[in-house]
Symmetry: C4
Subunit: 276 residues, 4 copies
């Protein structure tokens, strides 16, 4: 659409923009799917490198693969910066930061070798997978879940406060009842046990041995079993209510700063003020 | 509003009341948030004191912090008593007792040192956190959950009776099948195991080893997996039904006795008869 | 109502009937509550007797209590037989058999001492607790749950068939993958493991150790986590739909054979043909 | 009905077809139920054969039973091929392949003895159990579940992507925090742990021991406990919406290629074009 673009952004840059940032042309969709595979494969390489047996044999090749993907993501990041009209706004948006983080750690690891936490940052590039939800059929569905969760966020916060209070009080009680010799060595550890029990995870690394402790644990389990009905009920009820707005308008993404969630009647981007 | 107050409660007392007990003025909200932080930090101090390594090093400072918070809560409790028009009604209300309990244990521990159960009472002050649900957006949400749970309380009691009956019968069966040498040393212990299994917690401290026992356990697990649908269904259905009354009127809190839940058309408090 | 009763059943028998079998008079309600306590206390005695330490000290008194309750239940059973107009129909109804079973085991244990399975039959008397759901507010609620479960029974059967098929196929796969040395010693045991995992119980007595096994286990866990949505969805949807019939008519219980669930327009009992 | 059949398919073949493939005549229903039992018993034989103690004593008889059932299934498979008008279309349909697989492995095991994976293929014949859902009351119910799951498949995929991303990022974090000496020996293993925890299975074979690890684990557990509300909400909301079409028409199965799901007004099969 002519009106959405300033005269400068015409030609190749406009086409490149629609390939890299959008998914409604065949090339755009292809680009997104290729990117998705690159992300998944690069994270797979990170994972395999951590397995000692595999690292001993294929470590060399895995590092080459890692460098290849980093180069690719670097190129892609630069392309995004060139193509977007307001590079700074993009660079400091959430997606921009994640795009940046998927490139940097491997480069840094040249300088500071062996920093384990870079591993975690490397897997953060997985968050870029959520870009694919721009793809056709997923747009509405992803929005639907996020909208339902947003609408019930206060109810969920009330629920979590109640759960945390319960878990702290019962954890303290168990610390007093069972005591250190049964594994309940401190209140924080007893609270950890209470969370393990209430959420029905039940590792069994700490478990009550006194009669009173087992009785209280039974009460906590039945409580945990019953109150899971609360968040489920909240989200179910939320999802069953008809959606207020049409989901269609949400697909409008600002060409400048990648902001979404514009009101249907909006003419200008709510973040950067650019005309949509 | 003039009509809501007797002539005596004017001036500073009226202002203090609205700061301490209400949350619709900026000062009132600030007071509540400060109180929330004081509660959370004081409970954190109790928790950290129980960790031996931390207690050995910082125990002295933690006890000072504890005394500081106790002094603070004592002041706050006295302020509440002074400001409320009917101190006795407040003192024997649920919230009043909790406010009282958050002050006393530390004072008592001067006299009787080493009573472990005082620890539990100290964490009970966490219950005061629920005062924050007076704050703006939470009022309706907390009410919503409580209302839905109240409306389904008979259904949940029927469900719990069925679960308890099932757990007792299957626990007894397992006691007979597995016997003491496999950890099922008594019927209460077998019932404890049945609860651990039905609620899908599954510690693994006791687990069946005979073929018949494992078969019965499998049946119990699938039952537990399937019947969790019942409380969830009850609460979901309850929450999906439209609310009968407007949630707005629930925010009216009696200035005398802190009672809530007044009918929208009510002019007088249902508990103490004071004009709202 | 005159029309509901044959001339013979008038006088004391009629009054005794309403006390013992019904719950809408004050005496009837009192009788039911007393019975409820007797059941709970007698089952508690059975449970405590199984704890070695308690049995060693209080065993003698517990056995006296047991005999007392058995005498009570025997009297009550005879009273029911005398008061009901068709004793045989009652005696062979489900509730009649349970009433009978709550009396017999203790008597038999005179003859055959030490039969452990009598313990289980003794706890079966807990099923009589469901009589209390005749009491006021519970009638509709219990009916509601049972009706919702009945209405979704075919859906739940389809779901359970799918779960069982899944569990058998994955159990066999794990038996082949992990083999006997990792605890998967036979297909039934592997199926037991699959059930423990799918239902998210997770004892940890058997757990996969090979990479392939852990991968398959991960898939099974996520499946188990996701498909719990199916029974929950079924029951929630069922409970959210408005009830077709008025629950009120369900309270009509045949005076002859204790059958319930008569159609609202029914004039005769569907089981024994007696006029309602 | 005369109009549904070409002249060639009359007489015995038509009758045999309705017995073997359909379930609306008494003979057809009997055939399906007999087949169901044969499947269940044959899988039971496979399972029992894997138990060493049973195999040592009854192995010989179990193998005879196995051969008997294989002969039966072979006969049945040939009968299906003969009776269906387009054998090739049937042979390459999903149900046709499963029918084929239930016969072949036992025959192959003559040639290649000891191939463990044939065991798994043998249990695949359990999938044939789903044929019984043709039986009367089940048709609509099975369809209902499948339809609801199909309608929510994109939402469930979005949810699973979010879960997998979360599990990979937290797994990597735990690998860095806990390290190899606490059982978190590689990123894939840490991800396995994260799945075990998030799904609330909680084996306890690997569990965090550092304070930071236990804190992160607590967050993951509460997340897992809360986000189970999402798939449940999706499916509940889906099932609560009224079904678009009448379920009745779905029972029409094409006589040629076994296709179902024809539109109510359809006169010809959508797959093979044969007149219905």
């Amino acid at each position: 659409m002519e009106s959405k673009l300033s005269p400068a952004a015409s030609g190749w840059r406009q086409r490149a923009y629609s390939v890299i940032f959008e998914a409604d042309t065949p090339e755009g969709r292809l680009f997104d799917i290729a990117l998705l595979w690159a992300i998944v494969l690069s994270v797979l390489a990170v994972m395999l490198e951590s397995v000692r047996e595999i690292n001993a044999v294929y470590g060399y090749y895995l590092r080459i693969v890692e460098w290849g993907f980093t180069a690719l993501f670097l190129l892609e990041y630069l392309a995004r910066l060139v193509v977007v009209r307001r590079p700074l706004t993009y660079a400091f948006s959430l997606l921009g930061i994640i795009d940046f983080l998927s490139v940097v750690p491997t480069l840094i690891s040249l300088a500071i070798a062996g920093n384990q936490y870079l591993l975690v940052i490397r897997t953060l590039r997985l968050l870029r997978v959520f870009r694919i939800f721009k793809l056709g059929q997923f747009v509405g569905e992803g929005e639907f879940i996020v909208t339902a969760l947003k609408a019930s966020r206060y109810k969920i916060m009330v629920f979590l406060t109640a759960v945390l209070t319960l878990v702290i009080i019962i954890g303290t009680l168990m610390y007093v009842i069972e005591g250190g010799q049964n594994g309940f060595t401190s209140i924080p550890k007893s609270i950890y046990w209470a969370i393990v029990t209430l959420t029905t995870v039940g590792y069994g690394d700490i478990s009550p041995t006194t009669v009173l402790g087992q009785t209280l644990a039974s009460v906590l389990m039945i409580l945990g079993y019953a109150i899971i009905a609360v968040p489920t009920g909240i989200v179910s009820a939320q999802m069953a209510t008809p959606r207020s707005g049409s989901p269609a308008y949400k697909q409008v993404i600002c060409h400048e700063c990648q902001a979404t969630d514009h009101k249907p009647e909006a003419e200008y981007c709510w973040r950067c003020g650019e005309k949509l």
